[in-house]
């Protein structure tokens, strides 16, 4: 028999919500709105659309909760739903298909402590770059996983990731303690 360890309070709530408890779901919404909002607003860069995406994320989560396996990763599970919701919205935009410009020159690796600056620079990237960066560093997905998630080839994802990092280096050059 499988032993379920509820490592996180959100796991307990998720189990209850999966069983139909509206109170548990309401608590989950209150606890996780900020993290879902963060992901959606960074990916979509549009306040109104990000709000819609948050709502859609919770709706999809509510529908999927009966199948949720409590492994202490509720936030990650929810973040992945949010990521997919945002991807669908990004794909619907014309700019999704546009290719990002290659950075004009290679720049040195970042050595920044200012998280706000990095987050702001990420939000200035193109939609595909944002999606790849988000999948890699927020969701912690590997290259092939990102490729599957974005329906791109691993080679394509690799190029996008390299370009995105190059663009971030250029954007953040001189703003931190880079030597």
């Amino acid at each position: 028999m499988e032993v379920v360890t509820l490592e996180q309070p959100t796991d307990r709530l998720a189990l209850e919500a999966g069983g139909g408890s509206r109170a548990a779901f309401a608590q989950l919404v209150r606890l996780e709105t900020a993290s879902v909002w963060q992901a959606c607003s960074r990916l979509l860069r549009d306040t109104g659309e990000a709000e819609d995406a948050v709502q859609e994320t919770f709706l999809k989560a509510w529908l999927a909760l009966p199948r949720y396996r409590p492994e202490g990763r509720f936030r990650g599970w929810l973040a992945r739903i949010a990521h997919r919701v945002c991807l669908d919205r990004l794909r619907a935009r014309k700019e999704w298909t546009s290719l990002a410009r290659e950075p004009s020159a290679p720049a040195a690796p970042l050595q920044l402590d200012d998280q706000d600056e990095i987050a702001a620079a990420v939000s200035e990237l193109g939609p595909r770059e944002r999606a790849v960066i988000h999948a890699r560093y927020t969701l912690g997905l590997s290259g092939p996983e990102i490729a599957a998630e974005l329906e791109l080839t691993p080679g394509n994802v690799r190029v996008i990731l390299h370009r995105a990092i190059g663009s971030l280096r250029l954007a953040l050059k001189g703003t931190g303690t880079d030597d």
Binding site: G18, G19, G20, R22, F25, A26, V29, R30, T33, A34, S35, W37, Q38, S41, R42, T47, G48, E51, D52, V54, Q55, E56, F58, L59, W62, L63, A64, P66, R67, V85, P106, A108, P109, L110, Q111, L112, D113, Q115, D116, I118, A119, V122, I133, H134, R136, Y137, T138, G140, S142, G143, P144, P154, V157, R158, L161, H162, I165, L168
Partner: protein
């Protein structure tokens, strides 16, 4: 000892982001063990990856609109009150797709959606079957009139007991 090239840096980035094949990764690890400048670059790239990860998973973020979670919940509650296949939850409201896996109480889930869908599917299947039957019937050729007339005459003669012998 040579300075790492741009290609070396790309390889290191591939190593850190999981894009390098095992054989190439092993070769690079070997070089890392012996080449100090490459190792230094690897460390810097690792720090960069950590900084990105920290920045993008940080909880010190721009706060969501103050009442967003309440609006999400209000949207669910409203959608529960309003029957129909579309669940409206907030500003403009997303579209619900699919139904909940369990039979538990729902926030606005279209409860009759599944039975109604089944009836619709049954009706469509019945119409298709009827259509196929009528088409087949229309396509089956009628026997020629002469054959029909001969069959009628033979059956009349048989009834009178004076049918001609031999094949018709």
């Amino acid at each position: 000892m040579t300075e790492p090239t741009h290609e070396d840096e790309e390889l290191l980035l591939d190593l850190l982001t999981g894009f390098l094949q095992p054989a190439a990764a092993a070769a690079l690890e070997e070089r890392l063990a012996s080449e100090e400048p490459l190792r230094a670059l690897h460390t810097r790239l690792q720090e960069e990856q950590t900084a990105l990860e920290r920045a993008l998973t940080s909880n010190a973020l721009e706060a969501p609109p103050a009442d967003l979670s309440e609006r999400v919940l209000a949207g669910f509650a409203a959608s529960e009150a309003a029957p129909g296949p579309t669940v409206s939850v907030g500003r403009s409201g997303p579209q619900a797709s699919g139904s909940r896996a369990s039979g538990s109480p729902s926030f606005g889930e279209p409860r009759q959606a599944a039975p109604a869908g089944r009836w619709r599917a049954l009706l469509i299947a019945a119409s298709l079957l009827l259509g196929a039957f009528l088409t087949l019937q229309a396509l089956t050729p009628d026997p020629p009139h002469e054959v029909l007339n001969r069959q009628v005459r033979t059956s009349e003669l048989l009834a009178l007991g004076i049918a001609p012998e031999g094949p018709q």
